[in-house]
Amino acid sequence: MIFYQFMEATGAEIVVRCLAEEGVEFVFGYPGGAVLNIYDEIFKQNKFKHVLVRHEQAAVHAADAYARSTGRVGVALVTSGPGVTNAVTGIATAYMDSIPIVVVTGQVPTPAIGLDAFQEVDTVGITRPCVKHNFLVKDVKDLAATMKKAFIIAATGRPGPVVVDVPKDVTYHTTDFEYPATVEMRSYSPVVKGHSGQMKRAVQMLLEAKRPMIYAGGGVVLGDASEQLAELTRLLGFPITNTLMGLGGYPATDRQNLGMLGMHGTYEANMAMQHSDVLLAVGARFDDRVIGNPAHFAREQRRIIHIDVDPSSISKRVKVDVPIVGDVKNVLTDMLALLKQAKEKPDVAALNAWWTQIELWRSKNCLKYNRNSPIIKPQYVVEKLWEVTKGDAYVTSDVGQHQMWAAQYYKFDKPRRWINSGGLGTMGVGLPYAMGVQLAFPDAQVACITGESSIQMNIQELSTCKQYRIPVKVVTLNNRYMGMVRQWQEFFYGSRYAESYMESLPDFVKLAEAYGHVGMRIDRPEDVEAALKEAFSPALKERMVFMDFQTDQTENVFPMVEGGKGLSEMILAEEL
């Protein structure tokens, strides 16, 4: 160790050593002129593994999924210019879902900046609106401290992506290298402990509730607070719902869980949300896909407690009564202690009446679908996947109807198992997400539920899967449509299916085989289970399997809250 310290090092060596010091396992990247010195240092080291993707967007998605599934900071490395612009979609995707990643980008040499040099883009300018923070390192002396800051900023408070832009000359300039254990930043100190007075008020309010509801979001997963959330929920006996990003934050198979809420949430979750008198929001941001029309939501009187590490998430779209700024794990731990000391107990009679009402809503069985269809129903494939993987797989998805069916029918009992793009809704994330997860957990079952349109947005990564023997299982719900677009066109555009039909699809079986993988095409419902079992069998454990399920083209996602409508104004399957 001592040997490392106070030695002259080039900027490129410093980047690589900083990553090693951070305990980085994988760097997902793609080389180019501006980062060649860094790649040369990567070549000489064995502390971390570099994963060569086939498109920079996929590098960032894979790093993002590594972070989502492990809770650690993901790392990507791309070259200047087109390398950066290709990475932007990945960065914005991570930003919208508050995912901690560090993206190191090459830049033209400092004397060339601003001269429209070859492969120059204003990386700091382009990425500014979609990063938590970014840096342009102009002096090699600042490099190590900047790397440290990048990791701290990405991982603490409300997590998010950080870009470190390193000009090529900085990578060959030298300086004494010492990796700081930490770096003080006077301008950055996220609040982590909740305000004790506010927490007392919150506990009081919860104990007074007649129709309580817990609404838990991605913050619970990001803050590793599912244990505390479960303890609180069980102690109180309250109903709970998860956002799309919060799935797995509370076990889906538990009776107290009413399922996902929102645009495609369950009837019982949305009704209970709308009619609650005390709402506890935990690490959730009252997204427009979650509460529907805010004016309609505000029609019913309710008091709202909101726990969030980011003050700007609080009272942004919905006014709250008790804001609690702090890390969700700390706050829930403190609230649990207060709750256990409290003399008052929850109002059992009121709660019983509330649960009776909820069970009535639940008995609508809003997720039922036709199980006797001669055509494969997409919901059925997801249900079978859940059975075959014993509910224990990591599931990534792309964006569209298949994403919603995955969310509704795969019951996530553990956090960090459901990996998807909620905030940006980026088609093309599914396969690179699955790669990032599988590399982090080589022995786990990893499924990518996708659509025939989404999968084509990063299909080139089948090659990366081959190179690194990444045995993910792709479950394509192939409806020959951009189904989510088709659904909107059916409902709101008089069934005029403008450009939503996917023509000239490749033969996915042959395509998979061309990349050296196993391909399967499944046309009949009776073959679904066998195919899944085979794909997840020990015989194919080491192989990447591409399953092409020919599903019902006309199936729609229900329930659905139309844009602008209230949360309780759902369209249900039977109503059509």
């Binding site: 500014r128 609106p129 342009l136 006077r186 301008s187 950055y188 003050p311 700007s312 006014k319």
Partner: protein
Amino acid sequence: MSRRHIISLLMENEAGALSRVAGLFSARAYNIESLTVAPTEDATLSRMTIVTVGSEDIIEQITKQLNKLVDVIKVMDLTEGSHIERELMLVKLRAVGADREEIKRTADIFRGNIIDVTESTYTIELTGAGSKLDAFLEAIDSASIIETVRTGASGIGRGERSLKV
């Protein structure tokens, strides 16, 4: 109800600091009437004064979003307490014949200084709250105005109220 607010902030004096703030306002469609920025007595710090208009909810979001910028150290809504606001304006006026005396008198009333004189023009320097500068321009025959340049407001709290690291 929308109201005018003067927000002061201290941030790290680093390249791109201004664009982070300006970018935030445009990306989130917040109003910006004026924005001034310069280093403080401590050269590692920049002080910014932003004049904006918005409802209470919007102003709350603006201060939260500003605080969230990693480089921002402190944010204060000056309009929440007693404060002093000053702006500097330079006005170049066509000043010939009888107008010369008239303009000089008006400038005196507003405690303006004539800082450049030619045969046909006066350039006047005026300091005060934005409303005073507006009033001066109202008092002058608009046809005689050749050019005006305003710095935008700077503000500071009264008495012990201060924005420090």
